[in-house]
Amino acid sequence: MRNRPGGCCGLYVHIPFCRTRCIYCDFYSTTGTGLEGAWLKALQQEILLYQADFGRVDSLYIGGGTPTVLGDGMLARLMETLHAHFRFAPDCEVTIEANPDDVTRARLGAMLGLGINRVSFGVQSFDDGELAFLGRRHAAEGARKALKAAIGAGFSNLGIDLMYGLPAQTRQRWLATLEEALFFKPTHLSCYQLTVEGETPLSRMIGRNEASLPGEEEERAFFLLTSRFLEAHGFIHYEVSNFAASRRFFCRHNQKYWTHVPYLGLGPAAHSFDGVQRWWNHRSLKRYVEALAMGGKPIAGRELLSDEQFELERLYLGLRTRRGVRLPDLPETALPLVEELRKARLVRVRGNRLYPSRRGYLVADSLPVLLSR
């Protein structure tokens, strides 16, 4: 039972533009200007290639990049295009990633008017020093204003992205950021440990010994502190880095990635999955636009999942979430291990499902190797 025909799918749109680049980020974006028109035109062509293959959409995620660098008009045209070609479920979750500096109460109101019902702010920190280190455009005050504006505009589903494990960050400072975030009553929190990605200014800084990240024990302490603190405040730690105020606010779209539900990714560098195949677009706006102008698909690579690969993904993706995996799906050799992991309180069993405990999340990347066939 791989994919479920007839089920709803997800839609992702990659906005490949940023005013400035943050030091840690390796998502694809360009700081070039004046390219939005060409991008949207290409995107419209891309939609035509896929609209027939993907059914009803019950989640749309507009990510980037920085989606909020698009002007109101451009955003409206994007939404119009999507609605014109895809069937949206009435309760469709529509998320936009927002940079605090880019929004006003009026703009947020306009977004609501376009059907965007979930906003996820890249706040990262409420500490100006940390924000400056990360290369964020906004300061803490900007984040506060933006969050208030969103509440004022009427967003009832409000997400905040935060980062911990920054160089020299103390637990107190991290707790202060968390506490301040809670003040805005978010429905969703993503708390990411700062990670050094391949070719980023941060990786070069680390290479030159200009910055150093906390060690394994310290990272672990931050992780557990975050989880304990937020769960004490009623949040559900439903994925390694994600917390929701209630089950209703689990990010519907992101869950599709973890459960092999089909999703179509539009825009440069976007990844798609149709239940059997996965493919990804060119990581260059120029090549993306060119490929579509030639009438072709802007695909850089694709893979057909073998049963074994599918199983491994199901295992590892499942073990990153509170949903866990089905015990009967595990090979027999895994059973003594499950017992040991239970004794070590890294996993729990409920009914016929096995899922990681708080401490189990910490080793979620090696559990699948251990438990796999």
């Binding site: 700062l194 672990r220 990844h271 491994l312 590892y316 993706l317 080793v363 990347d365 796999s372």
Partner: protein, 599 residues
Amino acid sequence: MKQIRNFSIIAHIDHGKSTLADRLIQYAHLVDDRQFRDQILDNMDIERERGITIKSQTICLPYTSRNGVDFELNLIDTPGHVDFSYEVSRALASCEGVLLLVDASQGVEAQTLANLYAAMEHNLVIIPVINKIDLPSADIETVKHEIEHDLGLDPEEAVLCSAKEAIGIEDILEAIVARIPPPSGSMEKPLSALIFDARYDSFRGTIVTCRIFDGTVAPADTIRLMSTGAAYKVEEVGIFRLMREPRKELSAGMVGYLISGIKTVSDTRIGDTITLETNPVEKPLPGFKEVKPVVFSSIYPVASDDYQSLAEALEKYTLNDASLTYQKDSSAALGQGFRCGFLGLLHLEIVQERLEREFDQSIVMTMPSVQYRFYLTDGRVVTVDNPQYYPDPVTVQKSEEPYIRASILIPERYVGAVMKLCMERRGVNSHLSYPTPGRVEITFDMPLAEVVFDFYDKLKSITQGYGSFDYEITDYRESQLIKLDILVNGEKVDALSVIVHRERARERAVKICDRLEDEIPRHQFKIAIQGAIGGKIIARSTVSAFRKDVTAKCYGGDITRKRKLLEKQKKGKKRMKQVGSVMIPQSAFMAALRTSDEE
């Protein structure tokens, strides 16, 4: 027969034996220089890498002497390790002389001495050859002095050469024809031929290498192997050039090969005498010994599905190595496998490496053991070489283990250290003698179990390579034996169990636990490693848990990349054995087995 010379080269490791053999072959122009592959005689990968000879090889070199006489020189290569000392002795028994190779800068070393004594026992003519005279560090005068004082040979008879630079090769060949006597023997007498090697050829079956002492043998003769009584019809005889070269017959004095429909190498016995069915010799040649394995260990496939493939590999392997014995075995921890018998620990390591490399097997080996004897209360006596079959302790009246007589040759200055080592290894009955000034021969009675694992390595390290070691098994002696079990997270790993002397149990347990602690990768949980006798824990160590490895983000673009990483790790897992909840890498079994303490 007058124009035949049979000789061997003996040398310390690294003194240039293989290089000299190459030069001699090159001189004979059996192969053109462009095709010449260095160290032609050592043709197995492992031999090349370790620089030791495992299977001896033989080659017949044509040589025209300076005064114009044509000779056939049979170079008989010998294995170079104590595990194979019997094979060496049979090869030497086929010669009339040896080249004793000494490195011009290193001088006489211990192994040179041991080999020299072996050659002397066979009454061989010894030609000292000083090699590597081209090196800046060459000190010919000192080496000559050592040859006189340490070896008791005439230093003026030494031939100087550099095998690497091809200097003095002809002088060596002249010395061989002038000083080594031609073989004696009679073509008229009944056939008497010594088997000193046998190898398997997938087209021809077993190819026996032998030295003819008396008589002749030709195709269509019916031969008899005297130890087994088995008779075979000869298909082909010949001599070794670089390839086999068939001849009409082999006659007294010659060294060559014989093909006669013998299926596997294990149907032949090294040291056995071949004679003719119709006109047999009365008595076999002296010195034949049935070679029996002394070290036992089980081999298991890492993945239990590979059992059949391992069985096939072992079958093929033993076509060419009759000294490896094996039978089915099974273990709770490791599944189906084979119990194998080896000549010694080096032999075991060679078998392991060849199975992995040449036969592409992924294997785990258990702790090596010797054969113990248990006298039970019901009057039975059981022989046990596998800790799994260690009898119920309450039924054991008396236990015994095999003892050896070890003889160790060392320069005088190491006496203290070597005595200490031997005492630690439960050596008793020591004797010291001084065969030559400055050299000491120490003999000890020691349990075989104490030497099979790492004694030789240890001896070499404390004597800086000068210690030589030989042993023979003498008898069984009463000994307090117990079974030491190793538990990993409470689960007994039967493959790591070992029978040990009561007094050595704790030390052994601590070492194994430490080794495993180093080798077992950190898991998500703490792993307890314990050594136990019966229910009593006598040693323990812990592998701490790793505490965090999760990455923060896993969205659309991360899924494939992350899965690829996991796929790689899954592959690594294939080289591990799951015991209960713990993945034990193959290397851990090997490490636990190495009881030497290089720390």
